[in-house]
């Protein structure tokens, strides 16, 4: 077991290094750097001025060395200016060059400075990841019980009418990506001219113009049902169908097993068989699926936050990518890669723990 976990950790570390290097390389491509130079220094810079600006600000040199500096395993660049001052990656303004640390990268907690938000990246990320945490929490609270219930109910009696109806719903929900369901939900529930809101307003059932709010910006300060239900529903809907189908498949498989038949023949009631015998075995596979849903949830988060203007992680990623904010984009990708790899690890280890049939040497 210990060897298995260590091996997994090793592969994970290698994956993390490879992924962050790819992102670093792609964000630091020459055209991106040129754009950075032009936006930071002057728009009308000649090509050689751009080259020298990049050289002076530590964007020159081999890409591996720059990557190592960004990670924090190579000493940050230091440069002696013509006027005698020393500038460098690790030397903040107003700091004496002698006091500055040699290494300053992601490992040391120096995530760089965001050119869009005019703040250190760690602050930007801290705020936005916190906001997204709430979103994810509510998505999980809605999605996991709903989808497991749907899956178990439809897998309990394969081919019954309940099964057909619930399976159709599950297929429809997997066919509705977040940007479609979000648009339809807003049009139905949060538009002043269409859907049910004008009707309700006519009847005097709601005081405002719309039933739900079409943006979740106010949820940054205060989460209420009316401003948060739609973004949560948008993300959860897409996931529910998939997890429900997986749960259904695993439930139908369990229900055909010998021990279920034995229990039934011994006279245990159907309810007891499902609750006591089938459920625990049927929920092993969905656990893995739920954990592996996290990369997809990240997708959903990005779309939903853009659509509802909720300034969380996804919104920050879009802003950073759209405005060539290299440090923030790198920070975002570190967080994303971390989340994905950790959930993969949890799902692997959890699977082994939950399923006593798998024994690792």
């Amino acid at each position: 077991m210990l060897f298995f976990v260590l091996r997994r950790l090793g592969v994970m570390l290698l994956t993390a290094l490879a992924l962050t290097f790819i992102v670093f390389y792609m964000t630091n491509l020459p055209p991106n750097l040129e754009k950075l130079a032009k936006s930071e220094a002057s728009v009308r810079m000649a090509d050689d001025a751009v080259a020298s600006w990049l050289e002076e600000n530590g964007h020159g040199g081999p890409v591996l060395l720059r990557y190592a500096q960004w990670i924090g395993v190579a000493p940050g660049w230091v440069r002696l200016e013509d006027d005698g001052t020393t500038r460098g990656r690790c030397i903040a303004s107003g700091m004496a060059p002698e006091d500055a640390p040699t290494y300053c990268g992601v490992l040391q907690g120096q995530w760089g400075y965001s050119t869009v938000f005019k703040q250190p990246v760690s602050e930007v990320l801290g705020r936005s990841v916190g906001a997204t945490g709430w979103l994810m929490l509510w998505v999980m609270v809605v999605m996991v019980p709903t989808s497991l219930l749907l899956g178990v109910l439809s897998g309990m009696r394969e081919g019954s009418r309940t099964d057909r109806v619930l399976s159709t719903f599950a297929i429809a929900s997997t066919a509705t990506p977040e940007y479609v369901s979000g648009v339809i939900l807003i049009a139905m529930l949060a538009s002043a001219t269409a859907g049910i809101s004008p009707l309700l307003a006519d009847w005097g059932w709601i005081s405002g113009k719309t039933l739900f709010q079409g943006t979740a910006t106010s949820a940054m300060d205060d989460i209420t049902f009316w401003n948060f239900a739609l973004p949560v529903a948008t993300i959860a809907l897409y996931g529910i169908g998939y997890i429900a189908r997986m749960t259904r498949a695993s439930m139908t498989e369990v229900m055909t097993q010998q021990y279920i038949r034995t229990a039934r023949l011994k006279g245990v009631s159907f309810k007891q068989v499902v609750m006591r015998h089938a459920l625990r075995n049927a929920l092993i596979a969905p656990f893995t699926v739920i954990m592996l849903q996290f990369p997809w949830l990240l997708n959903g988060v990005v779309i939903s936050e853009t659509l509802f203007n909720y300034k969380g992680f996804g919104w920050t990623l879009v802003q950073a990518a759209g405005n060539n904010d290299i440090d923030t984009l790198l920070g975002c990708s570190v967080v994303a890669v971390f989340v994905v790899l950790v959930t993969q690890l949890i799902s692997d280890i959890g699977y082994v723990f939950l399923n006593p049939r798998i024994r690792l040497a």
Partner: protein, 385 residues
């Protein structure tokens, strides 16, 4: 001044515009029903109601894309003054008897015509990208599963690497205007587009190498046509100028294939590892068949059921990915009528005028739903074997 159309009139008018589609659908279903016992797996779709509904929805959009030029009521790019965000069924100002059946968008263009043309954009890329992704996945997955060892470890590591990337981050890195001036899209295209050629060459060579005459004919044809298309599509260097791809579309195409192929690889690899323990594989090995023959002509045909099902699901997924790209305004021109970018522009005015976003949203949903239902029907029917 003409009156607005009622919803009944709008639906009737749209149904009338779609007459060629209804006729083709009726003809297709009639022929397929008559011959369903002789058409193999395709014919068996018509035994399952779910599969039939799904197939109908998919073919509806395929025919819409084919006849798009006949169906549209206005040029999808022309802006008519005074029709900005017009409601569905509004008469076009100054033209007698012309209507915006599903209203106008934020630039006063006809939403109905744009959705119809958008079907063409989506169906041009999604199936082709899925086919290439399948070729890549199969060509890599077969040896990884069959031979295993170090080869398997290294390819699997690479595919897990791509799968661990959040898709949107990858798109934001791969599909940008800046990246087009670098070598990355060309190299990716060069690597990904060679796989179909390699796949077909090995496929025919492993089967016909005992009969050099036939082999030379097939492999020669594949190599000539394949490399000709390859030079045009990947490097835009076709001497005759027939095969070429807009750099924007190439970028989108390559990234979609890149994201999809590791998924195919995983499925193929898993199935090969299961099938290679069967007796008929051992029999082939004992006969002295080469490894590629066993992989491509013994194992692959026996894995076709799940692969066909996954193919349908994956076209739907690719459609969703293309929509995501459009939704973030990546890799498409602003005038493009594809559904994702129409939703993107429509969403900004959702509170006042929902129809420009809702119509393409429903269109995309119905196409993906049709593909998923078709996959479900196929799965049910192929399990009956």
């Amino acid at each position: 001044m003409q009156d607005m159309m009622t919803w009944g009139q709008i639906i009737a008018a749209i149904a009338l515009r779609l007459v060629p589609v209804w006729l083709s659908l009726a003809a297709l279903f009639a022929v397929s029903f008559a011959l369903k016992r002789r058409l193999g797996l395709y014919g068996r779709i018509f035994d399952s109601p779910v599969g039939m509904i799904g197939f109908g929805m998919v073919m509806f959009w395929v025919f819409v894309a084919c006849y798009a030029g006949m169906i549209i009521t206005h040029d999808p790019l022309v802006q008519v003054s005074g029709m900005k965000n017009a409601l569905p069924g509004s008469p076009v100002k100054g033209v007698e008897g012309a209507f915006y059946l599903l209203g106008g968008d934020h630039l006063a263009r006809d939403v109905f015509s744009r959705v119809i043309m958008g079907a063409r954009e989506v169906l041009k890329i999604a199936p082709a990208a899925t086919v290439v992704a399948f070729m890549v996945g199969i060509t890599l997955g077969l040896p990884a599963g069959y031979i295993g060892g170090k080869l398997d470890t290294s390819i699997s590591f690479g595919s897990n690497l791509v799968l661990a990337f959040p898709v949107i981050l990858l798109f934001y890195l791969l599909v940008t205007p800046e990246i087009r001036v670098t070598w990355i899209p060309t190299v990716l295209a060069a690597i990904l587009f060679i796989f179909p050629v390699v796949f077909l060459t090995i496929l025919f060579n492993s089967r016909f190498f005992t009969n050099p005459k036939q082999r030379n004919l097939y492999v020669g044809a594949v190599l000539v046509i394949g490399l000709w298309a390859y030079s045009g599509l990947a490097f835009n260097a076709d001497p005759l100028g027939i095969w070429s791809m807009d750099p924007n579309v190439l970028n989108v195409f390559v990234s979609v294939v890149f994201v999809n192929s590791p998924g195919v690889f995983r499925i193929v690899r898993g199935m090969v590892m299961d099938i290679k323990t069967r007796d008929y594989v051992a029999a082939g090995q004992t006969r002295g068949e080469g490894p590629w023959y066993i992989m491509l002509w013994e194992i692959l045909p026996n894995a076709r059921g799940p692969l066909i099902v996954d193919f349908c699901l994956r076209i739907g997924y690719t459609t969703i990915l293309l929509g995501t790209l459009g939704f973030f305004g990546l890799g498409v021109t602003p005038e493009s009528p594809d559904w994702g970018s129409t939703i993107n522009y429509g969403r900004r005015l959702l509170a006042i005028a929902p129809h420009p976003a809702v119509v393409p949203a429903l269109a995309l949903m119905s196409l993906v739903l049709g593909l998923n239902l078709l996959a479900d029907g196929l799965r049910e029917e192929s399990m009956k074997d």
